[in-house]
Symmetry: C2
Subunit: 435 residues, 2 copies
């Protein structure tokens, strides 16, 4: 028989079980954290009608889409979880309660050129709060609180949630009568950290912005100090533009409530260079950096938008949300050996029989499982050394040995694999130990 | 702006949040149950190279595949989790430990004609144990134990795991020199329950099987009694065919160990009519029925196979596994109003502020979340009635009201939504109550 060479497509992440265990632990922690804030789960199809999925898309995104025909239907695979959310909220509007707080954790697809740490299939972990017509600004302060709790759950302490409000930038540009160049300027400012101040100035000059205006822009994004000092400096700019003033007021409110939500000042800051590429965002924007692993880039980003679903409905659906790109985050942390490695195995204990019939070993496993302890019985006929090696390779922390003595005395031998320490115990004692 | 009508593709399941909560609870229970037996998670891509995915497929399956080109690559979406497992085990053979016990819970795709309760995108929840060269028959007895624990976790008591061994049927056909018609006969026998005994006989006559042989086949599948009586009756057939005798011996071993694994006789039986359509299976086969909801069909099926990956490798990789088709099971149970509805909400409590600034409400929520209680704060400016209605629509079981009195006295008012009972308590008392 001719064999086919089994292989996985380039750009598609596939993990060995030990890594998968760690990946799943991260995914579960994110989910539990989102649920602690009462976000509701939804699970939309991976495939949608191309017309629906691409209602808004264009440019780079559209080129990356997996799009194909099945019968007469033009189909596409989702490339994010935001468009499916817009579809979902519009489609089931009458059956949902607002504010609609949903999380979705799922795979999305982008046929990008594969490169290290970029995947064509990857998990996004999204939360959004959608208002019906309006949505309190306090929701913008809850997001950093969810981010804070989630990143802490993932085991990190030293991280910074950076916040800005796009109305400050828009207002500034209006004040300087640079509205038309607004999107271009934001893109340049967004790159400040990457390209440096001098390059930003040159890029602004390339846009034919007057010297004086460049100075004003640079003065604005150079504002330094504590969060409160920055807010004060914004006031002292004495700008009169309404958009700017609204942005300032929103930012003040958000900062006030972020503190009430319990996010310490050490874990957030105002950063006027954060604009986010997408013109979709209209107010508060977020990026989150692990300070020890700054090279990963933002691990959790998002913002406030005025209209979730304007390409589906006239209904005004403002929202605020953030997203964690889990596959990339996992890949990068793994590469940097920065993963929390609490438990790399699923089974907590492997039961090994020293006698031919593993009946007693199975009975011990039954009891352990009844008590919630993940247990595996080694059922193959192999030498004892091979059985221990199996436990070792799977990183199972404990091995129980059932030999003639143990069976006769109604005891078990428990070996802790890391220390090599072996004890003869009653089954009850083992359960106490392993719980 | 021209609006696109947002809609979901026919045959694709999409649930409202309250149903999604129940669906996720089922999924999580299955996962936890699989993990209690030490199965390791894997997560393969939804898209594979068509050549790899369709190495073995053909006929009906191939027609249903979502297959398409992206650039020069011929791609296909997975239609089950078994082919990806075969790929995975062959691809990572050197890095895996055997027996390799894996679970995978994920979406698969089949472009079937949509009909009620049949989905084009659906979740499968698979476990398999793969041996390297050989695999102890005792693993065939562990499967019913996993099924038993999993179905019980899902809240059912009255269910039957039906078992057979295909070697009994194959051996019988060999004995009768009907090997060439073996696959056809098995398909007919498999339909016994659906079409009745008389139709089975007629179908066998259509295959031009002699009267005497039909009688022998019918005698075999008519064997009744307790499990032990059935095993005894098999022995008393005094067949000499080796395949048959091997099947008998395997079945005896499996039954013996199924009992040792703690599956009560009331939850399993031997059923000689179960053959499973696929010729892939070579030994033990399983089907599981909820006796109160027999119309759903088997909710968990599978069996033993000799070669997981013969189209990829010469290596012999025998295995045994079962699968739950979760989307269909959920749909059917929901339709029959047979779902366990423990908790339809994610948030356990909604905190409502009666004063304009919800600062105190947020602080209470912070504390509850710190103690692991899923909490939502109602942040919009609405009438108190609307806030309670929101809790009610979301089925959130408790509401905490923070008014001037509560803030002044450092207490909270806790209302249990189902009973309407309202109490003034300290925050500590509330946490005791809600934990």
């Amino acid at each position: 028989m001719n064999k086919v060479q089994p292989r996985t497509l380039p750009g598609f992440m596939e993990l060995l079980p030990k890594e998968q265990v760690l990946f799943n632990q991260m995914k579960e922690k994110i989910q539990k954290s989102y649920e602690k804030f009462g976000f509701l789960p939804i699970d939309t199809p991976v495939i949608e009608m191309a017309e629906v999925l691409l209602a808004k898309a264009g440019g780079e995104t559209e080129k990356q889409i997996y799009r194909f025909q099945k019968g007469d239907t033009d189909l596409a695979m989702r490339f994010d979880l935001t468009v499916p959310l817009a579809k979902y909220v519009t489609e089931y509007y009458n059956e949902l309660s607002f504010p609609f707080r949903r999380y979705q954790i799922g795979k999305v697809y982008r046929g990008e050129r594969p490169q290290k740490g970029r995947f064509r299939e990857f998990y996004q972990c999204d939360i959004d709060i959608i208002g019906d017509g309006e949505l309190s600004i306090i929701n913008d302060a809850e997001m950093p609180s969810v981010i804070y709790n989630t990143i802490k759950e993932l085991g990190f302490e030293d991280f910074t949630i950076c916040m800005n409000n796009r109305k400050l930038l828009s207002g500034l540009f209006e004040q300087l009568q640079l509205q038309e160049k607004s999107v271009d300027i934001m893109r340049i400012i967004d790159k400040l950290e990457k390209i440096g101040e001098q390059n930003v100035i040159e890029c602004l000059q390339d846009l034919e912005i007057e010297e004086e205006n460049i100075n004003t822009i640079m003065k604005f994004i150079r504002i330094e100090g504590t969060t409160d000092e920055k807010l004060k400096a914004l006031e002292e700019l004495n700008f009169t533009n309404e958009t700017f003033l609204q942005g300032l007021q929103e930012l003040q409110q958000v900062i006030k409530y972020v503190r009430i939500f319990g996010v310490p000042d050490t874990n957030f800051k105002v950063d006027f260079t954060i604009a986010r590429g997408l013109d979709y965002y209209t107010g508060t924007v977020y990026e989150t950096f692990l300070n020890e692993y700054r090279e990963i880039g933002s691990v959790c980003s998002g913002g406030r938008y005025d209209n979730l679903a304007e390409y589906y409905t006239d209904r005004k659906l403002p929202g605020v949300g953030v997203s964690i790109g889990l596959s990339r985050l996992f890949y990068k942390l793994n590469e940097l050996q920065a993963l929390q490695e609490e438990q790399k195995s699923i089974a907590k204990v492997l039961v090994i029989s020293m006698v031919e019939e593993p009946a007693k070993a199975i009975e011990v496993a039954n009891e352990l499982r009844k008590n919630g302890i993940a247990t595996e019985v080694y059922l193959e006929e192999k030498k004892i050394k091979a059985k221990f090696k199996y436990a070792d390779r799977l990183a199972i922390p404990y091995v129980i040995v059932m030999g003639e003595d143990e069976i006769a005395n109604n005891t078990v031998s428990l070996k802790e694999m890391q220390t090599g320490k072996q004890e003869t115990l009653s089954l009850e004692q083992v359960m106490e130990r392993l719980k």
